[in-house]
């Protein structure tokens, strides 16, 4: 039972990471292969503050998010002006640079050995409460002028500019929002596992999040959440298949790309309105 809770907690943390990727890649169409680096920034900053400097946890959380925002600004500000393919390259390089930095400043971060002995301040309830809040923020963002402008510039950047949209600004705001959210996920991770090491935050993680977004459907937040549950939760639960995880991933992704390029959920969003309609239909049917 405890094991299942642990798996679900990790899944919840991944959901928040994937939400960040959804905002940047799904909503705005920018491929960020360095998204997991913000995760490591959040994890390491908070862990080092609490462990080395005895900063209270509740202060370390906003501090970690602020450092994540700063890192996001440093990468995002010059990058959003670039063409999309270059954005992927720059974020990729940034992510790997962060990993190298963590590996090479061993006296601060513990290097490749990692940082252990972090107190366990988070649990299942905190993580899933955070998921609910982050989801509410992301939904609000999607259904606002920001979300609309993201979708517009994803579809046609020239036309978006011609409609008076400050494309670079919207991209940067979204990028920063995602960076802060992902840093927060990193905090949750560090204070749940009590141990962080650079290897856990490489570009493969960023790529995995992007894959999840695509499997769920780039137009659907609901899709991102359910695809995370499916792709990270299930393989852990079905322990016997876990070595085949990457193979299963590949097969699922290939199937989706070939047979359902819009993702499992397409543009569907799970809303109260939809549930109500479903309820009405159910009543009628019975």
């Amino acid at each position: 039972m405890e094991y299942i809770f642990a798996v679900l907690t990790f899944t919840g943390i991944t959901v928040i990471g994937v939400l960040g990727s959804y905002l940047v890649t799904g909503l705005t169409g920018l491929f960020s292969f360095g998204q997991a680096a913000f995760f490591s920034v959040g994890a390491y900053t908070s862990a080092m503050l609490v462990k080395n400097l005895d900063v209270p946890f509740l202060l370390a959380v906003p501090a970690a998010m602020a450092v994540g925002l700063l890192a996001g600004f440093l990468v995002g500000y010059p990058t959003v002006r670039l063409r999309r393919d270059y954005i992927s390259l720059v974020t990729f390089g940034f992510g790997e640079a962060i990993i190298a930095l963590l590996n090479n400043s061993a006296n601060l971060t513990g290097g490749a050995m990692g940082l252990s002995g972090i107190p366990q301040y988070t649990n299942f309830a905190i993580v899933w409460g955070s998921v609910a809040i982050c989801l509410a923020l992301a939904v609000g963002y999607k259904h606002s002028k920001y979300g609309r402008q993201c979708l517009a510039l994803r579809a046609d950047e020239l036309a978006a500019k011609a409609m008076g949209i400050n494309v670079n600004r919207i991209k940067l705001v979204t990028f920063l929002f995602a960076a802060a959210m992902t840093s927060y996920a990193g905090v949750l991770y560090a204070f749940y596992t009590t141990y962080v090491e650079p290897g856990a935050f490489g570009w493969i993680v960023s790529a995995e999040w992007i894959i999840i977004v695509f499997v769920g459907g780039i137009n659907s937040l609901t899709g991102s959440v359910f695809a995370t549950l499916l792709l990270t939760g299930l393989p852990e639960m079905l322990r016997f298949a876990s070595e085949w995880r990457i193979a299963v991933y590949c097969v699922i992704v290939l199937l989706i790309i070939n047979y359902r390029p819009i993702g499992i959920f397409g543009e569907f969003e799970l809303t109260l309105k939809w549930l109500r309609q479903l309820g009405k239909k159910g009543v009628k049917a019975s």
Partner: protein
Amino acid sequence: MAAAVGEKGGQGIMSRLEAKHLSKAFGGVQAIDDFSFSVGERQIVGIIGPNGAGKTTAFNLLTGVYPLDQGQVFLDDEKISGLPQYQITQKGLARTFQNIRLFKGLNVIENVMTAADPYSSYNLADVFLYSGRKRRRENEVREMSRSFLALVGLAGYEEEKPENLPYGLQRKLELARALASNPKVLLLDEPAAGLNPSEVQDFIRLIRTVHEKFALSVLVIEHRMEVIMTLCANIYVLNFGKLLASGTPSEIQNNSEVTTAYIGEEDEACLL
């Protein structure tokens, strides 16, 4: 000589959009060469010319898609050339595209709302807290967009995907979207391309309607002469990036240089 004809057209009308000596070269090709024109307040002005004459390039220069090599653009005597594209739009220059460019992934009404979004002043805090200010403004923008859609004849299509609309309606949606950006001058790039004759008449009426309703100045590129000749008070003819002639529709129709540019010269051999 051509310029002398041009002076007649915009007589007595205050100039709203003024382009002075626009020039742009792509590599060795002079796409626009010293092109000056003006659009008066509430005036409809046309730009015509054979394919490749530089008409769309002129639009792209006005709206800031390409930087100008030379020349300046003024909107209400304020210099707008050199500003980023989005600021030029916010100053009051809206456009439609020759090859329709709607936002896929947004439905019809959201396409229109997007153009009004840059004027929404609510911020991220309002978004994250689901504030009343955000909700009110969203409703306001939605209602406004709904009225633009109704105006162009797209009522009832709000929740459709733009790519599923028939071509003529997509053109109208582009127009509604341009209107939502609250323009002073509307730039229409071949609005009647691909429309059948009755749709063309419909579109002409529509342009008239919005022109009067919103007191707009309109600059229109068009190949369909019925559109240009019925709508425009003044016409500029471009050929190989240069201004060939300008004047009222009847002046242009009787201009032999224009006929030559369009149809070519009469060959004696053909008359034999």
